[in-house]
């Protein structure tokens, strides 16, 4: 009965969305109730074998069998793609997208949860499907001290609940100074966050203790038997600092703002620890070691952090690489320019790493993996960094990242090699349900041929496009009025016609260094 109601509600929601929302194009194709058989010219399982003319059997949303010429229920719905490649889909190990806003203002926001911020109809999720991404770990941004809790979701569903693969998938802590802070004040804030927790707990215990001692004395005075010790809480776990006798305090008496922090120290929650620069890594590791969450820590690293690779390797923490994959630096003495291929360094040091995408569907995880191969990494390693490794980092390796019996029924059909620039996603099945079909993807059609999408939501998108595009006239005016020296910014103007997110070439600002004596000082 209850199920029926839910389904009805969902159907209504589907109907509504068809009428209004832009996801109409991709949402709710044929509902197979998670039972489907997919046949493809090639099945890349990522379990070590690639099957020519393979068959994938999905029942109840789970893969039950995969192989060549295998049997499947006679009444199963069969989808055949004889000229295409079936693939388990890419896994985004960490993303700040798909939320209303990625950052909270308050320093320590561990009591917050991204589920309240995730927007299921965000274009981001639609783009993710289009790029063949089947799983996304949505976490808060790095503009925090301690951030809220993240969610692992599928990029499809009308509510966060329906998208969710794993709730409370981790907490974000940042060694990168948040806005308005510097490295010194950020470190201080981090120390205070955990120091504050400890002080709070100790006070709590002391209060309990004092109260109990008083009660005993009162009982003695009155001639009563003192109350027996009744342990209502449990002792503090974890392997760093501990507050003795915490079991005196029932957990529900602990402030909801402090409780998630306690769980971090007890090592119960995965921690995503942001570092932008190598110096941040020291701050981060020290924090993790001192506060007992080192074993649950995933480092989320900016490009320059490769310089601390030895330290990272020693820590044995898995890492997620964000930003540019190339680090360019000019020797401040000789002026010689050196380029470092960042994932290569991690590969060489044996560090377990996942790649993260810039989140534009055209430059998504396939793109990162392809560039790695272009730079000389093995295909297996590059592919793992966008599939099985992020899955493992999330602890979901049995469910996602591969096509194997028992894994979620996620299959992405590519027109060819998933890492080729000429391939595209034809269809996506999530939990055995078809959720994306290129043939009906109007936005895709718009991007590739300029065709105008028919529905109103996409017109709204076009309007948004116009607004998003900076008005260069006004901007330039203001700059000049502010008396800014035009010579300093002339180089930057090349890029105004350029929609790309440029690789974060640190040196980029000094290209005109002929006029800038100080240019050389900054190796940066």
């Amino acid at each position: 009965m209850k199920n029926q109601t839910l389904r009805t509600l969902a159907q209504i929601a589907v109907a509504t969305s068809l009428a209004t929302a832009s996801i109409a194009a991709t949402a709710a194709q044929t509902n197979t109730d998670g039972n489907v058989v997919v046949k493809a010219g090639k099945v890349i399982t990522l379990t070590g074998e690639t099957i020519e003319n393979g068959t994938i059997v999905i029942e109840g949303g789970r893969v039950t069998a995969v192989g060549k010429d295998i049997k499947y229920p006679w009444d199963a719905e069969v989808k055949e793609f004889p000229n295409a490649v079936a693939f388990p889909g890419f896994v985004e190990g960490l993303s700040n997208n798909g939320m209303d806003r990625a950052n909270e203002n308050i320093d320590v926001a561990a009591f917050l949860n991204v589920k309240d911020s995730i927007d299921p109809v965000s274009f981001y999720f639609e783009d993710a499907l289009r790029a063949g991404i089947t799983t996304i770990n949505v976490q808060q941004g790095k503009d925090c001290v301690v951030g809220g809790r993240g969610y692992v979701v599928r990029p499809h569903g009308l509510t966060v609940e329906r998208m969710t693969l794993r709730p409370d998938s981790g907490i974000v802590i940042s060694a990168v100074p948040k806005r308005g802070k510097t490295r010194a004040t950020q470190a201080l804030a981090l120390r205070q966050a955990f120091g504050g927790l400890r002080m709070y707990l100790e006070e709590l215990v002391q209060e309990k203790k004092d109260g109990k001692d008083y009660a005993t004395r009162e009982a003695l005075y009155q001639g009563r038997e003192p109350d027996k010790d009744s342990v209502k809480g449990r002792p503090m776990g974890g392997n760093s600092w501990k507050v003795e006798n915490l079991q005196m305090v029932p957990r529900w008496e602990i402030d909801e703002k402090q409780l998630p922090m306690l769980e971090v120290v007890e090592g119960k929650v995965p921690v995503y620890l942001y570092c932008d620069e190598p110096a941040d890594v020291h701050t981060a590791l020290k924090l993790a070691n001192d506060n007992g969450f080192a074993k649950r820590t995933v480092l989320v690293l900016g490009p320059e952090c490769w310089k601390a690779a030895d330290l990272i390797a020693k820590s044995a923490m898995p890492v997620i690489l964000t930003g540019s994959m190339k680090w360019t630096e000019r020797d401040p003495v000789t002026g010689e320019e050196t380029e470092t291929f960042v994932p290569g360094v991690y590969a060489e040091k044996g560090i377990v790493f996942a790649l993260q995408s810039g989140n534009s569907s055209a430059e998504s995880l396939w793109y990162q993996a392809a560039l790695c191969i272009g730079q000389g990494m093995s295909r297996e390693a590059a592919m793992a960094a966008v599939t099985t490794i992020p899955a493992k980092i999330m602890g979901l390796e049995k469910r996602i990242g591969t096509i194997a019996p028992g894994s979620d029924g996620n299959v992405v059909i590519f027109s060819g090699d998933p890492l080729s620039v000429t391939s595209h996603v034809v269809k996506v099945f999530l939990d055995g349900n078809e959720v994306y079909d290129r043939a009906t993807d109007t936005r895709m059609k718009h991007l590739s041929t300029g065709a105008q999408p028919a529905n109103t939501a996409s017109s709204a998108e076009l309007i948004e496009e116009v607004h998003k595009h900076d008005d260069p006239v006004v901007e330039e005016e203001e700059k000049i009025d502010a008396g800014e020296n035009k010579k300093d910014k002339d180089k930057g103007e090349h890029e105004e016609g350029d929609g790309h997110d440029h690789d974060d070439d640190k040196d980029g600002h000094h290209e005109g260094d002929g006029h800038d004596h100080d240019g050389d000082k900054q190796g940066n």
Binding site: R183, G195, R217, D290
Partner: protein, 492 residues
């Protein structure tokens, strides 16, 4: 990879100077991240025998024809004759002396932190070390003979946080080994013109011009800045007092309670009997039984933990020095006057462009002035108006203890500390005083004298081998030892 010896030295230093026990010290401490086998780390540092025609033990004390044995990063023997141990390297030189320390530097500190107005008394400059950039600057500093520096942040705010003493070896990229002292001092400033991102550009006529102006600090702000500084120190002192009082009261209370408990335990049987009786009586009369109320004095309340105030307390008690950047004569005078009441305060003046007018008092109270003999043109900010290259010389001649520093504004200035010192000599500073300022005096002022600053047994091997007396015309540095590592060798 810092040798054990230095860590021990640090530990002993900590004992000597009574580092403040901050509430979260266990979280903030300097435990190395990656604990290495220290003995092995020591073993990796080669052994050296330095044979010196002249050994400057400290400025003023010179030994002739002696050898120095450096092992495990430390000076383990000084003797006229030391046979060369197996595997050791022999280095001959005309002069051996302690390497230089820049007591006012910014080398390795994030520039954001240098400008950070929001630093408070708890913030630590050591948190802002970036040992992954500017290696070449550290290398150049070493080449110039500067092996250690005291770092100071926040010159744009009134408080610069806790300063740090670091070793400038570019091989060290872990703060836990590079930082020798993470609370070398508390830094403050009074009356500085706030540089609001003004940039110097070479203008039309070749002169340097400001692109955008700077905001001068209001005169009344400056006056109240000293008030604020004093009231901060007072609050620190009061905090310490309150803590002590609390400890005392708590002790008394605990005693009292223990006695009371003992008494209550003794009286328990009696109380039980009477209670049973009362209960029975009440029951018989069908009345409600009323418990007797127990009374005891209130437990003393712990003052609210405040690491900022704790740091101020240790400053007020002279456990760590207070470095105040101040330039104008009126403000220096005011500061000296107002700090008189803090008997144990170890005040250090940084900058002190107009310190001459208070020379007498500075000399009497033995307050060191870190002179920044910088070359400023006429576009300098107003607090540097009477900045004079002869300041160090004149102050020293009046008996004021002086140090020489590079001002803590730019990372790259530290390399030029010896040039600045020479310039101060050229403008009247006694060469021996200058050398002392760069070595033993700097170390002593910031509690590093136990490990650096002189060439003595047990000290860290932070040494220079030169072809003439240090800071003299024509003298070249041949070798530089930094923490026992031969970091620079110009002579092959």
């Amino acid at each position: 990879m810092r040798p054990q010896a230095t860590i021990l030295a640090l530990a002993s230093l900590a004992c000597v100077t009574h580092l403040p026990t901050l509430g979260w010290a266990s979280l903030a401490g300097t435990t190395p991240l990656v604990t290495e086998d220290e003995d092995q780390a020591c073993a990796e540092l080669p052994t050296y025998v330095l044979r010196a025609e002249k050994l400057v033990v400290r400025p003023g004390k010179v030994l002739e024809n002696v050898s120095v044995l450096v092992r495990g990063g430390e000076i383990v023997l000084i003797s006229p004759e030391i046979p060369l141990p197996e595997g050791a390297t022999e280095i001959k030189g005309k002069v051996v002396c302690a390497s230089f320390m820049d007591p006012w530097s910014a080398l390795g500190v994030d520039s954001n932190v240098l400008n950070d107005k929001s630093l408070n008394e708890e913030a630590r400059v050591s948190d802002a070390l970036n040992l992954y950039s500017g290696d070449f600057l550290r290398q150049q500093a070493l080449e110039a003979g500067v092996t250690t520096a005291r770092l100071q942040g926040g010159y744009r705010g009134s408080t610069g946080g806790l300063g740090a003493v670091v070793r400038l070896d570019p091989e060290l990229d872990d703060p836990s080994t590079a930082v020798l002292l993470s609370d070398a001092n508390l830094g403050m400033s009074v009356g500085l013109t706030v540089d609001s991102g003004a940039r110097l550009v070479r203008g039309a006529d070749g002169s340097l011009q400001f692109l955008s102006g700077d905001e001068p600090v209001d005169v009344f702000d400056r006056v109240s800045a000293i008030d604020k500084l004093i009231s901060k120190l007072e609050s620190g002192a009061a905090y310490r007092q309150a803590e002590l009082e609390y400890a005392h009261k708590l002790d008394e209370w605990n005693k009292e309670i223990a006695e009371q408990t003992k008494k209550l335990e003794g009286d328990y049987k009696k109380a039980k009997k009477s209670r049973d009786k009362d209960v029975k009586e009440a029951e018989e009369k069908g009345k409600e039984f009323k418990e007797k109320k127990y009374k005891e004095s209130r437990k003393p309340k712990q003052p609210k933990q405040d690491d900022g105030k704790a740091a101020l307390a240790s400053v007020a008690e002279g456990e760590i020095p207070l470095v105040v950047e101040v330039h104008r004569s009126s403000e220096i005078r005011n500061l000296l006057e107002r700090t008189k009441s803090f008997g144990r305060l170890r005040l250090v003046i940084a900058g002190g462009s107009e310190a001459l007018s208070s020379a007498k008092e500075l000399a009497e109270r033995e307050i060191p002035v870190i002179v920044w003999p910088a070359l400023r043109g006429n576009s300098a900010q107003d607090e540097f108006a009477s900045d004079d290259l002869s300041l160090a010389g004149v102050l020293a001649a009046r008996g004021v203890p002086i140090l020489l520093g590079t001002g803590g504004r730019g990372e790259d200035a530290t390399r030029d500390l010896p040039l600045l010192a020479q310039m101060a000599i050229g403008h009247g500073l006694d060469p021996e005083v200058a050398l002392r300022a760069l070595t033993v005096d700097a170390a002593r002022t910031f509690d590093m004298a136990g490990s650096i600053g002189t060439v003595e047994l047990g000290k860290d091997a932070d040494l220079l081998v030169l072809d003439g007396m240090p800071l003299m015309p024509g003298t070249n540095i041949e070798h530089v030892f930094c923490g026992g590592r031969l970091a620079v060798s110009n002579k092959n």
